[in-house]
């Protein structure tokens, strides 16, 4: 009796090196400009090659500007890093979606949209949000730069087999409750280290009911619960999404692939190392109040009082977080005024996210003093949104409409918060300084962030 994860793991074992440690074969290696230059330099230093360039795909996303793409990159250090990737991919024969490419975008958005991400694959990237690709039933994990170099040189990764946690999410989401709310609620329940050392498999009817893009949102934030990866068994939703995509198998190969992909699922009696359950009916729109994604509550709740927390450790952490966030215990979350809105990131910048947000803001206008921006996850998402007229909806509502990149999720380009600025963000991390030194981030769904932009404060989107 095997789980989905067992099956994908077993299919990639090149050799067992020791008990629980295996040399695994990597099907797809995604590369970006920030965590790869030292790896390519290592290859060059040791006279090594990229073993399988055709299984390696690069893009620029983290430090690139999202403004006018006809201008050179203003930040000379970022420009040097982007240039280094161009040089590296030329020298080592790797395909690159560069700034001028129609296929450029956040690495975790372009893999799926190309159909390069497929069920049963082992996918790695020097980026912790690689878990996103697990939505297709792939085992997808973030790795460090030394491991990036290892994969480039050997197409393999040495890994201790993680344990397996089943997160069973059942029931029916209420209107206004999104996939983002489910994953935030789960992180709130199990904590930021709740899945440490584990691969999460998301199961249950509430997961089955999600679209492919919603599943990506859920898997994306697995790392925020401490997990090595997150996975969802592929089904018709997965196959429908992939069929006809540029890198997906076609013709006779499609039928063969489909047959194989359908085997990637857990046996009904398979055992997990641990289990957690969440009832989707009980989940409302979620908003973070602190400086970890686990510091989260329902929008109808109040800022918690650290004194009420169980352990000294948690109390100290919550006190620090509230001081940083400039929040007073007992304040209702709904009503907290905001300065900025960021609709973007590998968590929530796909076309469905933009459609939902556009529906909220259509015919309305961003509150005065609020600066709001939409950063599509990829140039293809941007082009699709423009075909649907969403760019006009956002612009008329007072949003900036930008080019694709990680942007203000990580703030490596010019898109940053100023000290003390409070932001409603659809991204994945509310760490201190994440969006800019002294910036205060509240994580939420696209609909909630859009509503916050219009009202100029956190609001319950269900009351709209």
């Amino acid at each position: 009796m095997k789980t989905l994860f067992d099956r994908v793991w077993d299919a990639h074992v090149v050799r067992e090196l020791a008990d629980g440690v295996a040399l695994l074969y990597v099907d797809l290696h995604l590369v970006h400009e920030v965590t790869s230059p030292q790896a390519f330099a290592g290859l060059r230093r040791d006279g090594r090659k990229v073993r399988r360039p055709e299984r390696t795909l690069a893009t620029v996303d983290h430090s690139v500007p999202t403004g006018d793409r006809s201008l050179p990159i203003a930040d000379p250090i970022a420009a040097r890093q982007v240039d280094a990737l161009s040089t590296n991919v030329r020298e080592f024969g790797v395909e690159l979606f560069d700034l001028g490419s129609a296929g450029q975008g956040i690495v975790h958005v372009i893999g799926p949209e190309l159909g390069a991400t497929q069920p049963g694959m082992l996918i790695v990237c020097g980026d912790s949000h690689t878990a996103t690709h697990g939505a297709f039933g792939a085992f997808a994990l973030g790795i460090g730069t030394s491991e990036v170099e290892h994969v480039l040189a050997t197409q393999c990764l040495v890994l201790n087999k993680p344990r397996n946690l089943e997160a069973r999410i059942t029931g029916c989401r209420a209107p206004g409750v999104s996939a983002k709310d489910l994953i935030l609620a789960l992180i709130g329940k199990i904590g930021t280290a709740g899945a440490r050392g584990h691969v999460i498999e998301y199961t249950g009817d509430a997961i089955r009911a999600l679209s492919m893009e919603e599943r990506m949102t859920v898997c994306n934030m697995s790392i925020e619960a401490g997990a090595r990866a997150g996975m969802i068994a592929p089904d018709e939703v997965t196959f429908d999404y992939l069929e006809g995509r540029p890198r997906a198998p076609a013709g006779a190969a499609w039928a063969t692939a489909l047959e194989r992909w359908q085997t990637f699922r857990s046996d009904p009696t398979a055992r997990y190392d641990s289990q957690v359950r969440l009832d989707a009916d009980t989940v409302g729109p979620q908003v973070t109040w602190g400086t970890t994604p686990g510091m989260v509550a329902d929008i109808t709740a109040r800022v918690p009082d650290p004194a009420q927390l169980a352990s000294e450790n948690e109390r100290r952490a919550a006190e620090r977080a509230l001081e940083y966030m400039g929040l007073v215990p007992g304040t209702p979350l709904a009503g907290i005024p905001i300065d900025r809105v960021f609709l973007g990131s590998c968590t929530n910048a796909r076309i469905e996210d933009l459609r939902v947000a556009a529906n909220v803001v259509r015919g309305r206008h961003v509150a005065s003093r609020v600066r709001a921006m939409v950063v599509p996850g990829s140039q293809r998402v941007k082009a699709q949104a423009e075909r649907e007229g969403l760019d006009r909806v956002f612009r008329e509502a007072g949003f900036e409409w930008r080019n694709a990149g990680c942007s203000m999720c990580i703030g490596m380009n010019a898109d940053v918060l100023g000290a003390g600025e409070r932001c409603a963000a659809t991204s994945n991390r509310n760490f201190e300084g994440r969006q800019g030194r002294g910036g205060r981030t509240h994580l939420m769904s696209p609909a909630m962030a859009a509503a916050a932009a219009i009202e100029g404060r956190l609001v319950d989107v269900r009351e709209w």
Partner: protein, 189 residues
């Protein structure tokens, strides 16, 4: 980097915080480099702006062992975090738990992560907070001790321990598996 680690004795500094993420260890503005060096001076950059920050205290100068809270190194996969810690001078980090990717990065950079029960870490945090406190770690024996009678065995990930003990060139070693890798490729295309 191929750096070996067998045993080390050094001054410990306490950082009694939980969930210290890699964004705090090395903020994003320092990730634009293309080298593996030059990050030590930016370690905990934002926190070090506070004169009272633990690492700024006179008694913390020269510390080579960091004692801290659970889930250390969570968040971003940036190996720059370990490069910064190592370049600053840290050889070992003691915590009740570490984030998975951070652990992998430590093993590949000669930094020893020591996982101990929370109560033991609490003892070490209190002793380290008093200043001029030294800890000895022996990875060969998997034992950690101090001069005040504290001694604990710790378990280390077998593969990570070997990488640390022998300072192995992991890529060179995997390349020796070429026949197995080629056989896998033949049977999967």
């Amino acid at each position: 980097m191929v750096t070996d680690f067998v045993r080390h004795r050094g001054k410990a500094v306490a950082l009694p915080r939980r969930d210290v993420d890699t964004d705090q260890i090395i903020p994003k503005q320092f990730l634009k480099g293309v080298e593996r060096t030059g990050y030590g001076q930016s370690l905990f950059y934002d926190w070090r702006a506070d004169p009272d920050f633990e690492l700024n205290r006179p008694e913390a100068q020269g510390a080579t062992i960091l004692v801290t809270g659970p889930n250390f190194g969570c968040g971003s996969s940036r190996e720059h975090a370990v490069w910064a810690l190592a370049e600053y001078g840290f050889r070992a980090i003691i915590a009740p738990s570490f984030a998975d990717i951070f652990l992998s990065n430590c093993y590949r950079n000669g930094v020893l992560p020591v996982q101990l029960p929370a109560a033991d870490v609490e003892t070490l945090l209190q002793r380290a907070a008093s200043g001029s406190y030294e800890i000895a770690v022996d990875l060969e024996q998997c034992v950690l001790s101090d001069d005040r009678g504290f001694s604990a065995r710790f378990t280390a990930d077998a593969y990570g321990r070997e990488l640390l003990l022998r300072g192995l060139d992991e890529i060179g070693r995997t390349l020796l598996e070429e026949p197995s890798i080629a056989a896998y490729e033949r049977s999967h295309t």
